[in-house]
Amino acid sequence: MPVPDLFFAMMKEEWRIHSTIFGSAGFALFPVVVAIFAFAGLLTLPLFSDTLPYTTMAILALLLFLLAGVMVGSFGTMGREFMNRRFGQASLIAYASRSLPVSERRIFATFLVKDTVYYILLYVLPFAAGFTAAAPFISLDPGLGLLAFISLALAFLMGLAAVCLLSTLYARSVRLLAGTVVILAIAGLSALRLGAAPVLPPYAFLLDPSPGPLALSLILILVPAAASVLLVTVDYPDRTKRFTNRFDPLAERLRSLGSAHFIAKDALDLLRSEGGAGKVVFSFLLPLGLVWVCLRILIRFIPGIDLLIVFAVLLGVLSATIYNWLTEFDSFSVYAVLPVEVSEVIDGKLKSYALLNLLPVTVLVLAAATSGGAGTFLPALAAFLSVSAYTLAVTVYLTGLYPNVMLYSAGVFLRYVLATSPVLLLLIFASILDPRYAFASLLLMLPAALLLARGRTRWRAWEMPGY
């Protein structure tokens, strides 16, 4: 099968997977929503220009897109399970090497190109379009839009390519992964002494759009991407795995929590899916590390900002993605033949989520201990718990058991952003006035409880369209 045919088939498949769920218009409007948010966000930049130079804002934007690349890459290439992706065995083209004369390597390479094109169209281009439209209103040259697009695309692809390589190495050997991470960290820290530009070539390109930084950026994208294609291994499901019954002892131990059978199933899903540890590293700890780096840069420019509290707020938002892990390998069709309500399944997921939140709490404790922020630990903890619960409640209300799919609907995404962003910004600004105001975030528990109650009822009445 020629690569172009494979590519267009994958593009069509990706489009249809989403458009089947919430209609072609709903999905097609997603980039428009991104553009509108970018436009509106950029109009506010002059408000911060006294405290935050544009160059620093540019670094933050590039890091944000690098992070987006990391998250897209970790989502799509979760170690040996990259073929399963978020639709389990339904990604039929990804399995084409079983029935068609197409190699796994060719499929993976095409898959990577498809993800690149797809997500650049979905995120990067709309953001750059919003930037270009807003530029005249904030005294910037609209011509910078093209430069911003190229720089942001390079940053996004650097994240995507890096995580593809790391997850491919992880699929081969954890030691290989650990060794590579150590080497990359040493190289990165050494380069950091020279400033941000050598570590982040897209930033250097933005400052000086010359062939040098562009070539360096492309090398940092193409080399890891090519290496990941060469090193890719595919563990097809026909490798039989046998396990003794661990479900019963686990369910017995969890009995006092209620929903024991659902929690035990979630735990085994997470442990036995081969991205298990990879999920934690690539989808959670890695983005969290990037957030920490961004915040360390930011606090130099905004006086009064409390690093630990802002980190706790963002940790709360990121920890809500744990719910995505819990639903990634599950769908209600498993339960449709059993006497179970959707709300019972959601309850089980919420309890699993609460247990898994021990991980971000541990991260917060470590962050407080290492950053000297012990004094604001309690308000930070309150902010984390409240934001985590609230963001989760918004996710459950809007997406039910399908967050990995539904958040790509323009309408759903818009409501998600509108429901979370103002609250988070308000919380961060309040904590600048006095870190103790972060305790007020506990009020978010009320709308969280209300949204969860409504979500349980709402999703009971929902049917997967066309199934």
Partner: protein, 238 residues
């Protein structure tokens, strides 16, 4: 056991099931026949509360399906067309999961019975995602009958099963009905219906073209296949 009244299901502009009415009595083995896409699976999903009818109603074992779908699923056994056990539980763990949700006791004995009857004891510790489709179908049979329901609704019962297990399953279903159970199955394999069903319904383009005794449909000197094809082709030409 089952009463369907004017059941209709529309998916957008497509009418999958169009005003279907029938009833199934206790102790019957009823077969819903029809070509691919005729509405058989949608009918079973409406009868088990998995999808809501656009109009019409159904009662299963005395319960209104629209009002108490979970109650219906508590009483009956269901085998869906596409076997969907959870990927990362083993076959044995899945049956224990089902038993836990259904609050069953003597779970090991119940599981052993099915491992032996359908001959897949050697696969009990294999993850469901690694099972063959045939073994997954056996597993779905086991989960549907684990709580010994009085009524089972089965979508394409013998799909993916080898001839030996097919014989075992047919014998089991006939024995189950002899012992007072009721089976509602859908299939497009007419030989199965002719061999084991007391009554059949023929569905085409979402409409019920026939509902009655299997022997009557087969008619004098005609096979069930001939009569079925006459009905469906006649409807398509109409």
């Amino acid at each position: 056991m089952i009463e369907a009244n004017d059941l209709t299901k529309e998916y957008g502009s497509v009418t999958a099931v169009n005003g279907v009415s029938f009833s199934v009595a206790e102790g019957e083995l009823f077969g819903l026949l029809g070509p691919n896409g005729s509405g058989k699976t949608t009918t079973i999903r409406m009868l088990t509360g998995q999808v809501r009818p656009t109009s019409g109603s159904a009662r299963v074992m005395g319960l209104d399906v629209a009002k108490d779908p979970v109650g219906v699923r508590r009483l009956v056994g269901i085998i869906p067309e596409q076997e969907t056990p959870p990927s990362f539980l083993t076959a044995e763990e899945y049956l224990h999961f089902v038993a836990g949700i259904r609050n069953l006791d003597s779970v090991d004995e119940r599981c052993d019975r099915w491992f032996d009857l359908l001959e897949f004891r050697d696969k009990r510790d294999v993850l469901c995602k690694d099972l063959s489709r045939g073994t997954r179908q056996k597993l779905m049979f086991a989960q549907a009958f684990l709580h010994e329901p009085r009524l089972a609704l089965i979508d394409e019962p013998l799909i993916n099963l080898d001839p030996i297990v097919q014989r075992t399953v047919k014998d089991f279903l006939q024995g189950y009905v002899r012992d007072g159970g009721t089976i509602f199955l859908s299939t497009h394999i007419l030989d199965i219906a002719e061999e084991i069903c007391d009554r059949v319904g023929v569905l085409h383009n979402g409409r019920l073209l026939y509902c009655g005794q299997t022997e009557e449909l087969a008619g004098s000197g005609c096979s069930l296949e001939d009569s079925f094809l006459d009905l469906v082709r006649g409807d398509a030409g109409a």
